[in-house]
Subunit: 576 residues, 2 copies
């Protein structure tokens, strides 16, 4: 990958330039942080002329290594006001990488609003009006693009929420058969894409040229080792069969499942939403329903699912733990079909299901609708797409919703909704939410992984643990690897170096790889520092420091000073 | 004034403690900054348990010096996220000072929402439920309080907007005859008061004890000198006859009058809204209409008015330049009766007319209603009091409104609406908006005063001028003097020292007085630094840097770096 493609959305000029030697070393999340710090004013309006919308495959994006179709989307976040990188699967990322594109950068905003499609191909990149897509739901957008561009292109697009520049809007990516809609959901990047007037990016890699691999044999060897280790890991089979919904029973046991706007941490009948039951329902109903499906070609984990109606028609694909919980229990909704329908609607409207689930929970607490009112919640999501006043409030996320309705129990850190891991009973995640440059984002460093080794209710080792997890996430997000590939790397971190040696010929130790992750975080922190959103200005929501969370009845009690230590402590450089 | 009265709104305990030696040196704005920095977590939720609502007369509050009934209201602002001091006239301030109260501090928030009245008296302070005030408009609130507490008490209260904790809510103060409603409007302090569950503060000073004046003769002499100088100043007569509306013709000539959401800087027919015409209309209509009225007893300027309907019934009192412009031309409304009605509604609902005028302008740009739709604007303000979705959006101010509706032309700095002085054609105000700890607030340092000596379109001397004006404002706000008393002090700054010597016996030079102003600003800046809202994180709205403002066709072009110099340069210590 050697090309940087820049699209000026105002004058419509598209420039393709070769990456510098320095830029070649950047990929995915690291690249986004470097580009933002270098090119974007940290105090700019996230939806104005000076923000940039960046798409970047990871460093291994153009290899056949499993899960490396994951790619990063980034920009200054309209939710947090700071740096944002959100990564996502689907088919588009690999195609961008195969075209040799290291970064696709949308710049400026158009003078007049429009509905444009950016076509990225081997020899030609074009920007054109596509007015019939205006206001269209995501699946219809994809269908219309298929009619024009065929079955083989990769598609990145936004729904009406992004077009209306709502801060809860995400960026959707289709899978190979347009069955799943994958989301770079967090941080409101759909609004940034919308601000550029780009409804969709279509990627045609038919003219792709194979990259020059430094050492094919070494890369293949490492790749094989990774695949084998993943397949041998006991977690993989569980993930394959049950996907992320498998988390629920464990999370319920820990007491961290947000219920009724974060007022409880567990469900009365968790088994109704367990991964096993969801897989069983899918199996029984048959039809379009499916489990163990990949979100991208080449993935050996295949943790996704297609959740069907009772008559076997697809409701939503894939249904995931975080979305289930935020749209479900957090809104007092416990029926899996109702939850699936809400998730489907979020995907169609083009919003982050976590952010919107949290916002609906707050609206319920405000009395706008009742907890458990699934029909009302559906209507709210529909209203987002219609741009009603209430829809715009909800579509702009949980903090806006809380402020508008005068609710003080707002589950958010740095302007972004807390995901389905209540930090009162998983304290390491509280540290991640506060100290990650990403704000409240479990994918930035999820202590759920380490709940057996670090007491989730205790005060000890939380800071060191969160830091290690955050660096781990930053490395994987820079490589373009799925977070679920981590077990083999935990055992054998030097595998990263082998990949980079094989692909690029870089003579790295694992310590060098770790520095990549630290570099990404430090670059992001510097951007945030200049934007006025450093970690010292944000704490866990006040109510979580005083309101005990049943059933563990714990409050969040890690002091700010303790959390602020995080980027000042050393960690062993050989630990992934 | 030696008492600090603290009211815990959760456990309802009221404590009266004697001010320390250090605290005695603080008053008004300086006191608020000191208390906030000392006692309030800069990163707390402005509407949560840890913010405080502070009422503080100025250092001269308990003297008979003209205009010193002005007092300060403060807290962490829900609009800016930083320190906020807003000062206001009316009758309550002098009564608080006469009771010897240096600061009244509302702490914590109640567990259950309520509608309480805080009664402050000589020997007794009580907090009691007053449910019949719930949701009441400001004038009805005042009427009901009069029935209970009589004609002589001072009243500070909020409208329904403050009760609903909307960030555009202000704090209302009645005048001696309940004709005028004065506002500590800016920064959303009405929402902070509302978060404490306090609908009104009633001040009964019948048991007041005269303060011990250090040197009565000296104080009287200084007071006489000030009064005489004010009366001799040619501006005073103009202010007395025409009030702040007199600004309009000059501002129109400068081209700084925000029109149609800050897209023009002048009016086609400015004379229809000129101070002279407004005064003439008031005179012709007679009835309850009046000009040259005081907002507090003892004021020798008396710049207020009572604007009547054509049949002579009061519409609003007092109608002021900033409100006229934001609710009028900025919304494409040029009829003085329609503007007066909008202003009246803002006063009743309990919102800052500047913030709400700007928010309506943005809603008009978004197409929610049309520019010029006065009936629609009235309805919007009514909707604020009803708490409809749209009303809540508007009531939360211009930034929230712009974000919700996806409008990029948001006239705000640090979350707060820009007042009726467009910084593109009055660049010194741009510097004040960006670098004042108060955000976009003309009263923090208004270069309109100096438009004849510092070219409002030029780049020269703007930083030094804004700094001088900001310190000047901070001194007056700490003394408890109206900004309109400044001419005599400009000629003879040592008059301040005489006042402090006469009142307290302090041996001050003017340089010491100047240090008071600088101390207030530096303390505020420190609070903001810790809150993450330092001046380096905010610029003039992006559109003002690229969209020339007719008729001067100037953009705002003072670089950030130049503005950031402001607190690093020295100014002569003898200049007020």
């Amino acid at each position: 990958m050697k090309w940087i493609v820049r699209v000026n959305t105002r004058n419509e000029k598209i420039v393709k330039e070769e990456a510098s030697k320095e830029e070649v070393r950047w990929g995915g999340r690291l690249l986004i942080s470097k580009f933002l710090l270098r090119e974007v004013s940290p105090i700019c309006d996230p939806l104005g002329r000076f923000n940039k919308f960046i798409v970047a495959p990871g460093l291994l994006g153009d290899t056949l290594v499993t899960t490396t179709g994951k790619f990063s989307v980034g920009g200054k976040s309209p939710l947090t006001g700071g740096v944002k990188e959100s990564d996502v699967g689907g088919e588009a990322g690999k195609k961008i990488a195969r075209l040799g594109i290291k970064a696709l950068v949308l710049e400026d905003i158009p003078e007049k609003a429009g509905t444009k499609v950016l076509m990225i191909g081997g020899n030609q990149n074009t920007l054109s009006e596509f007015p019939e897509l205006k206001g269209k739901f995501v699946s219809e957008t994809i269908q219309l693009l298929r009619k024009r561009f065929g079955r083989e292109v990769g598609i990145i697009c936004i729904g009406p929420a992004g077009e209306m520049k709502m801060a809860g809007a995400g960026v959707a990516v289709s899978d190979v058969n347009d069955i799943q809609i994958r989301y770079a959901g967090r941080g409101g990047l759909g609004a940034v894409m919308g601000s550029k007037g780009i409804k969709a990016i279509v990627v045609d890699d038919t003219e792709a040229v194979s990259p020059t691999i430094f050492n094919e044999a070494l890369l293949r060897e490492a790749s094989k080792a990774l695949t084998q280790a993943i397949l041998e890991d006991p977690k993989t089979e569980n993930r394959h069969h049950y996907g992320t919904p498998a988390i629920l029973m464990v999370a319920n046991e820990l007491g961290i499942v947000p219920t009724r706007n974060f007022s409880m941490g567990n469900l009365e009948k968790p088994e109704e939403l367990s991964g096993e039951v969801i897989a069983e329902v899918i199996k029984q109903r048959g039809g379009e329903g499916d489990t163990g499906t990949p979100c991208m070609r080449g993935c050996v984990i295949q943790c996704s699912n297609v959740f069907p109606t009772s008559s076997g028609k697809k409701t939503v694909a894939s249904i995931q733990y975080e979305n289930i919980v935020l749209l479900g229990p957090n809104c007092g909704i416990f029926d899996v079909d109702e939850i699936a329908e809400l998730n489907h609607l979020c995907n169609e409207v083009g919003v982050d299901a976590i952010e919107i689930g949290a916002a609906i929970g707050v609206a319920m607490e405000a009395g706008v609708l009742s907890f458990g009112d699934a029909k009302g919640a559906q209507d709210l999501i529909q209203q987002i797409s219609q741009g009603t006043h209430l829809g715009r409030i909800i579509g702009n996320g949980v903090v806006m919703t809380g402020r508008i309705f005068g609710v003080r129990r707002i589950p958010a850190v740095k302007g972004q909704a807390i995901p389905a891991y209540d930090p009162r009973a998983l304290k390491g995640n509280g540290i991640t939410y506060v100290t990650s440059p990403m704000g409240a984002d479990h994918t930035a460093g999820n202590a759920f992984e380490t709940a057996r080794t670090v007491n989730p209710l205790g005060l000890e080792n939380q800071v060191e643990n969160s830091r290690r997890l955050q660096i781990r996430a930053a490395i994987l997000d820079t490589m373009g690897l799925c977070l679920f590939t981590r077990p083999p790397f935990v055992k054998k971190p030097e595998l990263f170096a082998q990949f980079l040696k094989g692909r690029y010929g870089w003579d790295f130790t694992y310590a060098d790889v770790q520095r990549i992750g630290i570099d990404a975080i430090e670059t992001e922190r510097e951007f945030n520092r200049r934007a006025g959103v450093s970690e010292e200005f944000f704490d866990i929501p006040e109510f979580m420091r005083e309101e005990p969370l049943p059933p563990r009845n714990s409050v969040y009690d890690i002091p700010m000073e303790e959390m602020q230590r995080i980027w000042k402590v050393d960690i062993p450089s050989d630990v992934f």
